[in-house]
């Protein structure tokens, strides 16, 4: 491959091109500021969704409270007589004692 004169020329071309300084500090001036501006604007784009999500929380909380009240109000309620419950407990104890032969 090295015998080809055009290969030599190509290698010389590469060698010369490598010396070109591609970084120009003047062109990169303020580059950090531009990058940070884009990063901040990306964040700002993401924020409205989060804000919107947070703003819906009171609506959902109100809905849960309303549903709770509505379910509570629509179900029939029974008065619980604690003395009756105590009596039932006593009867079970007497029955248990009788069956056990005490």
């Amino acid at each position: 491959m090295d015998n080809d004169p055009f290969d030599n020329r190509l290698d010389r071309l590469f060698a010369a091109a490598r010396k070109t300084e591609c970084y120009e500090s003047a062109r990169a001036y303020g580059f950090e500021t531009r990058v940070m501006a884009r990063i901040r604007s990306n964040r700002a784009v993401q924020r409205p969704f989060l804000l919107w999500a947070w703003r819906t929380i009171p609506i959902f909380v109100s809905l849960v409270i309303f549903l709770g009240i509505w379910i509570y109000a629509s179900e029939p309620h029974y008065m619980v007589d604690l003395s009756e419950v105590a009596k039932i407990g006593d009867e079970e104890a007497i029955l248990t004692a009788f069956l056990a032969g005490e």
Partner: protein, 186 residues
């Protein structure tokens, strides 16, 4: 006597960025922009595109910093992101870039015995010839012959196997020679 300001190393810089310190990221950009600009400048058409591509690269660095494992120096990791972003830009652009025929570019491939060619002129010749290559050919020949990376380094940067890098380099060089020969004759 002035006390030199402590320069945070890359690990501390990353930790600061991940904890939300924007100034730390500015420092990271300042530290690696020369490297990134040098890589991207080999693939773009003009200064506006260079600025855009470099911004994209640093935004990717920012977004993916949590994925950096520290098993390679940060410079290598940033370079890899830069190379991949440039390759994506090349693929999007395809070969529509070079509207200017190579004949119209003022240059001459001088005789090997002649004086050294000016670097800017050499780069302009190559830039126009490289624009006619396929993205993968342009990528591989740029990294090998202009950035002077080894086959192994190119393989690591691009994610291609070393064998694929060699094959693509061979084809790219052959194609580049054909393009230059067609435009210059012998």
């Amino acid at each position: 006597m002035t006390v030199p300001e402590e320069v945070p190393n890359d690990e501390r810089l990353i930790a600061a960025i991940l904890s939300g310190d924007d100034e730390a990221f500015v420092e990271l950009v300042r530290r690696y922009k020369r490297k990134v600009f040098s890589i991207a400048a080999r693939f773009v058409r003009n200064h506006d595109e260079l600025d855009d591509v470099c911004q994209e690269i640093f935004i990717k660095v920012y977004q993916n910093l949590r994925k950096y494992r520290g098993d390679a120096p940060l410079e290598h990791w940033v370079s890899k992101i830069a190379v991949n972003a440039c390759y994506d830009a090349l693929r999007k652009r395809r070969r529509t870039e070079d509207e200017v025929p190579l004949d119209d570019v003022a240059f001459a491939l001088r005789d090997p015995s002649s004086d050294e060619m000016p670097s800017r002129e050499a780069w302009e010749i190559l830039r126009h010839a490289l624009a006619k290559l396929r993205p993968e050919e342009r990528m591989v020949i740029t990294l090998l012959n202009l950035e002077e990376k080894s086959v192994r380094e190119v393989s690591a940067l691009t994610g291609w196997s070393e064998a694929k890098v060699k094959v693509r380099a061979f084809r790219a060089r052959k194609e580049l020679k054909r393009i230059l020969e067609d435009n210059h004759g012998q």
